[in-house]
């Protein structure tokens, strides 16, 4: 898609609600309430069709993700990659770009963090190694994000397709390191050896298994919000996203902003990947991201491309993901039912939102 059509494309993803001030928030909340109700109704029908116990299903979804310390811990763990991933998507979107490569960038960050840990982890104390590993993840993701950024800046190549192709490439690269040079043979799977102790994230709730990644994600999200709202760079990014031609006329170097935005976006995703490695698995595994990239985009849209909205949406989707998976064990639904359930919820929310926006436009 050419540069000229980009602002219009922005509309294609973010549906502005053109009612002003306080009523805008009320409208948004009401929209969500209706959306969730509709989603619940459709899902109930779906569960009934699968011969499941609807009440039990809804109880399970909440109780498994929030009804116990262990559940909350695992939900928190899930928030970390979802929040960072959707922040990455949101940041790119503010510049008018689509980053569909969050999965690949997570793998890239994970690979660099793992490599550094294996290289120097034995010789460094945790207080040095851990930040280095996270930084490495940041850098790895940035490097991968810079590719579509550079291609877009230099030749106008659309980043959607570059990022999608890079997802595959990063996946195979991960498969190579996880089955080749770093493989742990006893597992018999595409999993690396254990990382050195110094490259381990401290635990938030040790008994329940929650690591501190969610804190890092929250801090970084706040940083992104500040960047976008209060810095010159953030202003430049938003101007480019709003109207690239006007931005150029105003002195913003389009190419530079393109590169920086996509690189930063990738960096956030790369950090998420590094956190999964040093916090959750203590290894690099193929399958590190079970589709977080797609969910990140959905979350970013549900959060209306606003940092607070995205944070809330991340938490909700984490609860949904954890809960939907538990349907397997409580209502005896097959695993794929959870994914369908999530998709139904998202599509219902999008439907209600779109109708509300249409009505608001008048």
């Amino acid at each position: 898609m050419s540069a000229e059509s980009r602002p219009a494309v922005a509309e294609a993803v973010v549906v502005p609600v053109r009612s002003g001030g306080r009523s805008r928030v009320t409208t948004a909340v009401l929209t969500y309430v209706v959306a969730v109700a509709l989603a619940a109704a459709v899902s109930a029908l779906f569960i009934l069709a699968m011969r499941g116990d609807v009440a039990l299903a809804f109880r399970t979804i909440l109780s498994s993700s929030l009804g116990s310390v262990a559940g909350i811990a695992q939900t928190l763990n899930k928030i970390s990659p979802l929040l960072l991933g959707s922040m990455a998507v949101m940041l790119a979107r503010q510049g008018g770009f689509f980053n569909i490569g969050v999965d690949g960038q997570m793998y890239a960050g994970a690979i660099v963090a793992t490599g550094l840990a294996f290289a120097v982890g034995g010789a460094l104390p945790l207080v040095l190694m851990l930040p280095l590993a996270l930084l490495a993840g940041f850098a790895g993701g940035a490097a991968l994000g810079a590719v579509p950024g550079a291609l877009r800046a230099r030749w106008g190549v659309n980043e959607i397709f570059v990022t999608v192709m890079l997802n595959f490439i990063a996946y195979y690269l991960t498969e190579w390191v996880a089955t080749g040079p770093w493989n742990d043979p006893i597992t018999g799977e595409a999993i690396t050896r254990v990382l050195p102790e110094s490259a381990t994230l401290p635990m938030l709730l040790p008994a329940a298994g929650a690591h501190a990644g969610v804190l890092i994600a929250l801090v970084m999200s706040a940083a992104v919000a500040v960047l976008l709202g209060r810095t010159l760079l953030g202003y430049e990014i938003r101007t480019v996203g709003d109207n690239p031609r006007a931005a150029t006329l105003g002195g913003v170097r389009l190419g530079r902003i393109t590169l920086v935005t996509l690189a930063l976006s990738g960096a956030l995703a790369g950090l998420a990947g590094a956190i999964e490695v040093v916090g959750y698995h203590n290894r690099l595994i193929l399958g590190l991201t079970p589709g977080y990239g797609a969910m990140a985009i959905l979350i970013a849209v549900l959060g209306r491309m606003h940092p607070i909205g995205v944070a809330v949406a991340s938490a909700l989707v984490a609860v949904l993901m954890v809960g939907a998976d538990s349907l397997q064990r409580s209502v005896k639904l097959p695993a794929s039912a959870g994914a369908v359930f999530q998709a139904i919820v998202v599509l219902c929310v999008l439907l209600v939102e779109a109708r509300a926006a249409r009505r608001a436009r008048g």
Binding site: S5, V13, V15, F341, L350, A354, R358
Partner: protein, 312 residues
């Protein structure tokens, strides 16, 4: 590794067989995008088409019924997307992604619900190759080009057909105009919505055909995620082909060739880690895309919801 490998007739035959689903789905998406709607849920739609085709073929013992059912299933999803896009002016990329996620889960779920747990996977008979009389006996080229299944022939026939439809018929002209400047179409009293729905129906049927190709021609079974990224590739091929059918075909053939080559090379080439060989088709597509991208122009109104009340 000898260079003769590059011109091995078996390689060309493979290229045609495996390029076919890509080009069919890409043509479908091309039609949809030409009307101004961006559908990134192709992967999910192809999967739903694949499972529907498999299940129906298995139940009815008729490949034709299965193929038609698969095409219909994908068309339903595409129409749903265009409903969001046209009637609601909603976010196309997001809804497309939502449909992708839905398609992946739904296809797996459907298979599971119909077949349950077994120790032997269900399978159907795949389409047999139909040698074209006379042409199939030509040396070398006969086996490569004229010894394919009916769907494979159809895939390549569709390219000039879609080209003709888009560039030589009034419908095609109106469709392309809708993608470039919907206001001008509206001003002539032609319904933008109807054209976009029409494009969605036709495009969806083709995407479904591309999805159905996989079980009915290639594997005779269904497995989760069996499209393995082909939907995304079809999306890329539309851009690669600059929204033109013949160029998209070139891209599909190129990609399938590199992929087939990688398998042949893998037998003899052991020094390179296998994952780098597996990356080759995607890397190749990326590099070629970058080279030819300069100058590629998308339909002006692509992914822009048409709002007849809006000004300017």
């Amino acid at each position: 590794m000898s260079l003769w490998l590059l011109v091995d007739p078996h390689l060309w035959q493979q290229t045609l067989v495996y390029a076919a689903p890509l080009i069919i789905a890409a043509l479908g998406e091309l039609i949809i995008e030409r009307s101004g709607v961006l559908n990134i849920g192709i992967e999910g739609m192809m999967l739903v088409a694949a499972v529907t085709c498999f299940v129906v073929t298995w139940q009815t013992r008729s490949a034709a019924a299965g193929i038609v059912a698969g095409m219909g299933a994908a068309a339903i999803l595409t129409l749903l997307l265009v409903y969001y896009a046209v009637a609601l002016g909603g976010p196309q990329i997001t809804v497309g992604l939502g449909l992708y996620v839905l398609g992946v889960g739904l296809s797996s779920l459907l298979f599971r619900v119909v077949f349950g747990v077994r120790t032997s996977p269900p399978s159907v008979q795949t389409l047999a190759p139909v040698p074209l009389p006379g042409l199939a006996d030509l040396p070398v080229v006969g086996h490569v080009f004229f010894h394919q299944t009916l769907l494979t022939y159809l895939a390549f026939l569709l390219v000039p057909l879609v080209h003709l439809a888009l560039f030589r018929t009034p419908w095609g002209l109106r469709l392309r105009a809708t993608g470039e400047n919907p206001r001008s179409v509206d001003a002539l009293g032609i319904s933008v919505e109807r054209l976009r729905y029409g494009a969605a129906a036709v495009g969806g049927l083709l995407i479904g055909l591309g999805g159905a190709y996989l079980p009915i021609v290639l594997t005779g079974t269904f497995s989760d995620n069996m499209t393995a990224g082909r939907g995304w590739l079809a999306l890329m091929l539309v851009i690669f082909g600059r929204w033109m059918p013949f160029t998209a075909l070139g891209g599909a053939l190129l990609f399938a060739y590199v992929e087939a080559f990688q398998f042949k090379a893998g037998i003899v080439e052991k020094a390179v880690p296998v994952q780098f060989l597996l990356m080759l088709p995607y890397l190749f597509a990326l590099v070629v895309l970058v080279r030819i991208y300069r100058g590629a122009r998308a339909p002006q109104a692509l992914a822009v919801p048409y709002d007849r009340e809006a000004r300017g």
